[in-house]
Amino acid sequence: MIIETLLAVTGLAALVTFLVPDEYAGRAAAVFSVLPLLGSLLLWARFNGAGNALVDGDVAFESAAPWMTLGGYKVQWFVGLDGVSLPLVVLTTVLTTLAIISAWSAIDERQSQFYALILFMETTLLGVFTALDFLLWFVFWEAVLVPMYFLIGVWGGPRRKYAAIKFFVYTNIASLAMFIAFVALVLAAPVETFSLPAVAAALRGEQIAGFLGLTPDLLRTVAFVAMFVGFGVKVPIVPFHTWLPDAHVEAPSPVSVLLAGVLLKMGTYALLRYNFTMLPETAAALAVPIAAVAVVSVLYGAMLALAQEDLKRIVAYSSVSSMGYVILGLIAYTLYGVGGATFQMVAHGLISGLMFMSVGVIYHATHTRMVGDMSGMADRMPVTTGILVAGAFGYMGLPLMAGFAGEFFVFVGSFGSTTLPFAPIFTAVAMFGIVVVAGYLLLAMQKTLFGPFRLDTDYEVHGAPLRDTAPLAVLLLCIVALGVAPDLFFGMIKDAVGPILQGGGL
């Protein structure tokens, strides 16, 4: 019942925050968000799962109850955690608490509604990562969009309506494709339930029927592609990425933190859970196009980031680039590849969260995010600059920070993959992203942070207060801790991804 309690407490916190007067809402929300944070740490401490939840693993904190029957198909309340989902749950709670604290400065109207929506979104995100029944999962998956839509559309920048609608409609249409594809698979498979482990067992077991005139193999392929695109929009992969920069630029910084830090991981998490766990043969057959998409995402995203002038757009495009590594790791189907991809989800969540947060601090002080509008910020905001530099190096994959661990695992795993033809070439080309990322981040830092102080918006700039820098420092500590001791999460991740692997390689 511990997961139910976690979800209920978070949802209740959202309700209560909604009723708190605006001036106390931020503090209240921060205190409330500590509860799910402690809860997730408790889950971590008492985690006793083994193996993959979808493939005969021991699911930790498993809890199931019948919900309804749809045309002979059993739908359950079914939640549980394994080594893949637990790190993402912890990531969600940590980032939510820090985003709420960082919002104290950034948000100055309708606070109680803002924080209530953030907490509501946390509830739904936790639901996404814990649900093990398709329909239940889908309810959470779609419900995430609602608070995010309002958070961008109400508290966003000048083009917030465009960005919010684009985000909502784009990801929603993608969900439709994915939903139809998955339901078709379930109807074709010999199961009478939407429980993910059961469906996974049936689909991996090579025994599905045709559907609507499609042969089983064709159905698998079509469904794989539809789900890949459906989840890929959320990731986002090139060419379905254009909603992301718009959403990031318009969203307030704390929302960007959650958008980049957690929401994108829903896409990669779902890819891992559905496409790569349930249809491994299809994935292997499509390895080359998938790897090509990954490589293009890495390099294309990085090159676009190089062309941007808005700090948030830079980080947004670099997220596209980083998510490319995740796809590459997944298609490698090796322990370090898939495990590294999962680790990279957490690492990128923390690092991009840090980047968006520190850009937000600078924006709050200068009222601009344009690279050309400022220089020499290090002179006025030394601590923020220090953390931003550290975060940027984390993004570039500096060793002993989480990003390096994730990327290195992916590279080692994908270089020798036997599933992916020409794996060394794909890997080597994708790795060139680490040079381009260093190029644009160093260039942006040189222009904005260093050199003589200059600010075109003529605001009086002081060092950021502790409440702004403290969340940054905490995130940085988390990043370094995971970089020095990746096995904090990587141990359970390796355990959880092992059963879905196939083929050879490291």
Partner: protein, 679 residues
């Protein structure tokens, strides 16, 4: 074995000083006396002591390769990724060099930074501490992954320290360039590391499971590895070239040398540290560390030798015309590392290590000497504004002269012995059936001439003649904290060569070639037999086809000495006297080319500014126009059709009623027709 138990302290002590300085920088910038220098000095001195202890242990035959920390546990076939400590003669020697130079640089910084009232000192000492720790971590690294990790951290520290004066425009730009160019090299290194793991399943340096040992076994057919469809040796060569990419970047070899002269924007003690003992040395040390792998690959060795020889010559020519004292030293560094690469490529493992050691001493000395001059000149670095400092700064002059003699390769200073040995190895192996090495040897030999010239041009312009400016007439005095490191290094630059006097040994049979002996033996531990120069010699002979001809070391030694003297004499002829004139103009167009560094910077800048950036802007236009345009077009289709269709919604109730009625009628008709009512 006690010393080895304390060995992690060598890395951890400077690391602790980094933390102390960072904490101070954040909370109480003034809490530490001397801005954090003292913890740094204590930490590096502690590292030096432990390094000495380790060296004694190694001298007594001790060796170790132990895992100190499991970074990522292995599961099944997937390898365990670990931090391991490899202590053998090579790493023990390098530990001594690095910790000694780091200690002296810390002391010198008291004079260069503290006494000059610089701000941000805790940040400076934090950087130095992390720099030292990273390099020491790199030196003791027992596998390729750990080496890469610290290799990158070294790059980070160079970024932080070169960009120390961040309020000016130049240093941040130079810092960016240093990191970016070395990152470009590190990219290849990282691909190589991934490739080594994928190929061998292990990246350890020592032991029977180590990748050089497995590679050797694979070549003899005793082991099988994945070679991804290539021939075994071809694939190993590919890996070798990939790792070489990182070396070329960090050790500033052509064509990735361009970051190093710019790096002079950093404080001078940092330059000393970067050039002598850390960063730049890391590249060459890496090749020496995995020499058992490179010795199997003749193609890669030839490339290393050629790159090294070419860089030695190429950089030396650029050093001929520079005006700033630190620029001359920067190009001399590139050139000298070229010699080390030449030595490694030519099969002279001991010679290259020897040169790495002597160069560390004399280049640290020269940079610290230059720093002393720069203090005296109130941070003016132009040699044409100096002159006559000899009488006003005797300690600096004498020690700087010792360093210069070593750099130029004049007997009996340290640089002579090591450079001579490098060239000798290239010559004997070249004559012994690897003619390509002779080309590298030739370039190295010509570079000796230029080295002698630019070195003494620098000495003469700085210290001799009459003072050319008011600043040079009344230089700022320097304190003990500047002089003491100079004296220590001056002694070493003079005497370090005696460790390995090959020609003298040949002539007299005495004294022993200490360094050869130091690197040759495994101390009776067969697990380390693969890391000895004896073993490397066998590998070179068996796999690279290197064989030597019987050739006296004396004649080649005399030739290079003669060339060095000739160069020095040329400089004396042109620049001696009370009021030397600039002869560089006589070079005409060549001067412009040299002064602009063969336009190497220009083409790299052109590549980023005129190729990469426009490309990225074009891609951005494409992204906004085509990719996002498609998305917006799709949405505009639905918006457009919505705008049309909503016309039906007139708002007039009567129209809705008409539609309802017509709809009902149509429905009834359809049902009727289908139901056969009218049949």
């Amino acid at each position: 074995m006690a010393a080895f138990d304390f060995a992690p302290l060598i890395v951890l002590l400077p690391f602790t000083s980094f933390f102390v300085a960072v904490a101070a920088a954040i909370w109480r910038p003034n809490i530490l006396p001397k801005g954090g220098a003292l913890p740094g000095i204590a930490a590096t001195a502690g590292s030096l002591l432990v390094s000495l202890w380790v060296a004694v242990e190694v001298l007594g035959g001790g060796r170790t390769a132990e895992t100190v920390y499991v970074w990522s546990t292995g599961v099944g076939d997937a390898p365990e990724l670990v931090f391991s400590l490899l202590l053998d003669p090579l790493s023990a020697l390098m530990l001594l060099i690095v910790s000694l130079v780091a200690t002296l640089v810390h002391v010198f910084s008291l004079g260069y930074m503290n006494d000059e009232d610089e701000t941000g000192l805790p940040r400076y000492y934090a950087g130095l501490g992390l720099f030292t720790a990273s390099m020491l971590g790199f030196v003791v690294a027992g596998n390729l992954l750990m080496a890469f990790i610290f290799f990158e951290l070294v790059g980070l520290c160079s970024y932080l320290l070169i960009g120390f004066w961040f309020r000016e425009a130049g240093p941040p730009s130079a810092a960016k360039k240093a990191f970016l160019v070395t990152r470009f090299g590190d990219y290849f290194f990282l691909v190589g590391v991934a490739g080594v793991f994928a190929t061998f399943g292990s990246a350890a340096f020592a032991g029977p499971e180590s990748f050089p040992a497995v590679a050797e076994a694979a070549l003899t057919g005793e082991a099988s590895v994945r070679t991804f469809g290539f021939g075994t040796q071809t694939w190993f060569s590919v890996l070798g070239f990939l790792i070489l990419g990182g070396v070329v970047g960090k050790s500033a070899q052509y064509p990735l040398h361009t970051w190093l002269p710019d790096a002079m924007e950093g404080p001078t003690p940092v330059s000393a540290l970067i050039h002598a003992a850390t960063m730049v040395a890391a590249g060459v040390y890496l090749i020496a560390r995995i020499y058992g792998f490179y010795a199997l690959l003749p193609t890669v060795l030839a490339a290393i030798a050629l790159v090294g020889g070419f860089t030695a010559l190429f950089a030396a020519t650029m050093g001929l015309v520079k005006r700033e004292i630190k620029q001359v030293l920067a190009y001399s560094t590139i050139s000298q590392y070229g010699y080390m690469m030449l030595g490694l490529g030519a099969g002279g493992y001991v010679a290259a290590t020897f040169h790495l050691m002597t160069h560390a001493f004399f280049k640290a000395l020269l940079f610290l000497g230059a720093g002393s001059v720069i203090i005296a000149m109130h941070h003016n670095e132009d040699m044409w504004d100096m002159g006559g400092l000899r009488k006003r700064m005797p300690v600096t002059y004498v020690t700087f002269l010792a360093g210069s003699l070593a750099l130029a390769g004049i007997v009996p200073f340290a640089g002579f012995w090591s450079k001579d040995e490098v060239l000798y190895e290239a010559l004997v192996h070249g004559l012994g059936g690897s003619p390509i090495l002779l080309a590298a040897y030739g370039m190295g030999l010509v570079a000796v001439l230029f080295t002698g010239f630019y070195t003494f041009r620098m000495v003469l312009l700085t210290f001799h003649g009459d003072p050319r400016t008011e600043l040079a007439r009344n230089p700022h005095g320097v304190g003990w904290n500047v002089k003491a490191p100079l004296v220590v290094l001056g002694v070493l630059a003079t005497t370090a060569g005696f460790l390995n006097m090959v020609p003298v040994h040949e002539l007299l049979g005495f004294p022993p070639e200490y360094l050869h002996d130091w690197l040759a033996h495994d101390g009776g531990r067969s697990a380390f037999a693969g890391l000895t120069s004896e073993h490397y010699g066998e590998l070179l002979h068996d796999w690279a086809g290197y064989s030597t001809v019987e050739l006296s070391a004396i004649l080649p030694g005399l030739v290079s000495l003669g060339l060095a003297l000739l160069g020095a004499g040329g400089a004396y002829a042109l620049y001696a006297g009370d009021d030397p004139e600039e002869h560089t103009e006589k070079l005409g167009a060549a001067k412009t080319v040299l002064y602009n560094n063969y336009y190497q910077d220009e083409y790299q800048v052109w590549l980023t500014d005129s190729v990469v950036k426009p490309l990225s802007r074009t891609m951005d236009t494409f992204d906004q126009g085509v990719v996002d345009g498609t998305v917006n077009t799709v949405s505009s289709v639905s918006l457009f059709s919505g705008r049309r269709l909503r016309r039906i919604q007139t708002g007039v109730v009567s129209n809705y009623a008409v539609l309802l009625t017509l709809g009902l009628t149509a429905l009834v008709l359809v049902v009727g027709v289908l139901g056969g009512w009218f049949a």
